[in-house]
């Protein structure tokens, strides 16, 4: 049926925190060059899903496939090695460090005695910001504390795409932004898709979703209640799925069931 395997595919993944079943038997996929929106009400499991993909807290069960091959993600480094990058809602930037230092956080270029290669890092940061047309940042050596919300978002997105990443996950990238800055970020999201990246966009704002997404996955109470082609659906259908959708998959005879 499908000519190529999805870039990232989850099959029947579950995750519980104590007695709370945050995710139950979830299937999810995203392909190269596609913007896949992930929507759902508060507590639907969106954040849990992306944190598990990023290796912050691994899935309890289920399969993760990358380019069709099963992979294990046990920590942030595993996810990064596969080319999965997450831009978190709270951006996960260090205010006391400058733009370059944040772009390379945890992955600093260094020589054999762990000496930092500052010039190389600064150069590549400037290049990356340029290719993403981020022009509002005055100096890459100013601390993130001095940047505006939109500038911080730009730094966070730039950090995600700098690493030859394959899958970029954006968690509510426009939530705290004004009109003009939202515009810039949405353009940036589209550009990422056009550059062949697999993009996962999490958003509460359906206008944003309908503008940039190719497909929409709807989560409700930890289960997938539908995957829609943006071109063949409308906001009303998505809203009713978010608020009252029924799980489309019954556990058992699915492909995940064979493993279990």
């Amino acid at each position: 049926m499908n000519e190529t395997s999805p870039t990232l595919q989850l099959r029947g993944v579950s995750k519980a925190f104590g007695s709370v079943q945050a995710l139950q038997d979830v299937d999810f996929e995203v392909r190269d060059g596609e913007v896949m929106a992930l929507v759902g009400d508060n507590g639907a499991g969106k954040s849990t899903l992306i944190k598990s993909i990023a290796g912050i807290h691994p899935f309890d069960s289920g399969e993760v496939l990358f380019d069709g091959k099963p992979v294990q993600i046990h920590g942030p480094k595993d996810a990064a090695r596969l080319g999965i990058e997450v831009v978190y809602q709270d951006l996960a930037l260090c205010d006391n460090l400058d733009v370059v230092q944040n772009m390379y956080l945890g992955r600093e270029a260094h020589d054999v005695i762990f000496r930092l290669k500052e010039t190389e890092m600064e150069r590549r940061t400037a290049e990356t910001l340029q290719t993403l047309a981020v022009t509002t940042i005055r100096s890459t050596r100013q601390t993130v504390a001095t940047l505006s919300g939109g500038q911080r978002q730009s730094v966070a997105v730039a950090r995600a795409v700098m690493w030859n990443s394959r899958v970029v996950i954006l968690d509510e990238p426009t939530a705290a932004l004004g009109v003009a800055q939202t515009r810039q970020v949405l353009d940036l999201v589209k550009r990422l898709g056009q550059q062949g990246l697999a993009v996962v966009l999490i958003s509460h704002n359906l206008y944003d979703v309908f503008e940039v997404a190719d497909r929409i996955t709807v989560l409700r109470l930890g289960r997938v209640v539908g995957v829609f082609e943006t071109a063949q659906t409308n906001q009303q259908e998505i809203v009713s799925a978010i608020t009252a959708g029924k799980a489309t998959k019954i556990s058992g005879p699915g492909d995940a069931g064979v493993e279990a």
Partner: protein, 410 residues
Amino acid sequence: MSVAAPPEAQLAATGDVTVLGAARAYLEKVRAGDVGSLPVVFGMVIITIVFTAKVSVFFTAVNFNNLIVQMAPIALIAIGVVFVLLLGEIDLSIGFVSGLGGVAVAWFQDPGTGHHVPGGVAIALAIGLGALIGLFQGSFVALVGVPSFVVTLAGLLAWQGVIIKWIGSQATIGIQDKYVNDMANYFFTRTASWVIAAVISLGFALTTFAGLMARRRAQLPIGNPALSAIRVGFVTAVTFGVTAISNHDRGLSLAGLIVVAMLAFWTFVARRTTFGRHVYAVGGNAEAARRAGISVPFIRIAVFMISGAMAALGGVLFAARLGGVDLSVGGGSTLLDAIAAAVIGGTSLFGGRGRVVAALLGALVIRTIANGLGLIGSSSATEFVITGAILLAAVTLDTISRRRLERSGR
């Protein structure tokens, strides 16, 4: 090689590159709340003027050398404190860990105990013991999650007990070993002192120049060359000034050189290595650091090990200066002097902001006041009150500057 300069190079070029422009940019930084080491330098000038006017022996070469040797142990301990504060943690055990370092070095070199160890090895063992204590305490903080305040408060009590038990009934251990005593009592010959000053100045100038050249080769903005030149000139002037004064007396002290070497080494670690970068990151936003794949527990434990090791090294110098250890070793104002030194020098208590050199600046302020008041003949009561007032002023300044920095963001 690309011909076009990166966009920010052009932006930087539009900035003012004259010395006046640099001064203006610096003033702007100060106004935004980033005061750096300005208050300390200012304070030192005032302190020096006041004491020089009050007592004639204060501003003499002999007292200058004494001051450096008195300041050295506190500066070394405070270097460890800077790292701990960068994480936003605290280490209250450093006073008695330094005491343990002194006891260890005295005990190991003591021929009377029948296990005579060469001085150099004894020093290494003492530092190793400090690092081990740091590993122990840091593990509770990093792996179990016990607040560092409590872990090291427990350490403060426990290590004091260990010291009393270790020294035992004899109540003192004298230090006879030449190498250990030299740590605080050796002074270089005049010629050697000049050579050392030249090497330090040249080393600093070359490092600065190499940094500028690397940036130029990478076609990055090099900021203001005049400012770098001023910095090199300043360091050279201070180095040769200190040497000139010291040479009027016994020459440069080994203790002072140890402090300079440790400052250079730990500054390099903090600013130029991945480890140092991760320390700042964890101190700034531990959650962001964790998500970026940095091992936060490893960084925390390593920093407590640095703190323990530097405290022990400071303790070795203390013991060497006094020629031995007694039951009060590591007590008194050691702990508070060291923490106050790091804070007065400009290290933020809130984590993520500060430089290693703060340890030296703060220790200088505290020991100069103690030294000057001692010469005047004031009681230690006055010294406590004044040091307390300065500490409060430093932390208030830090708090205000942090609020201003937050407000100027955006």
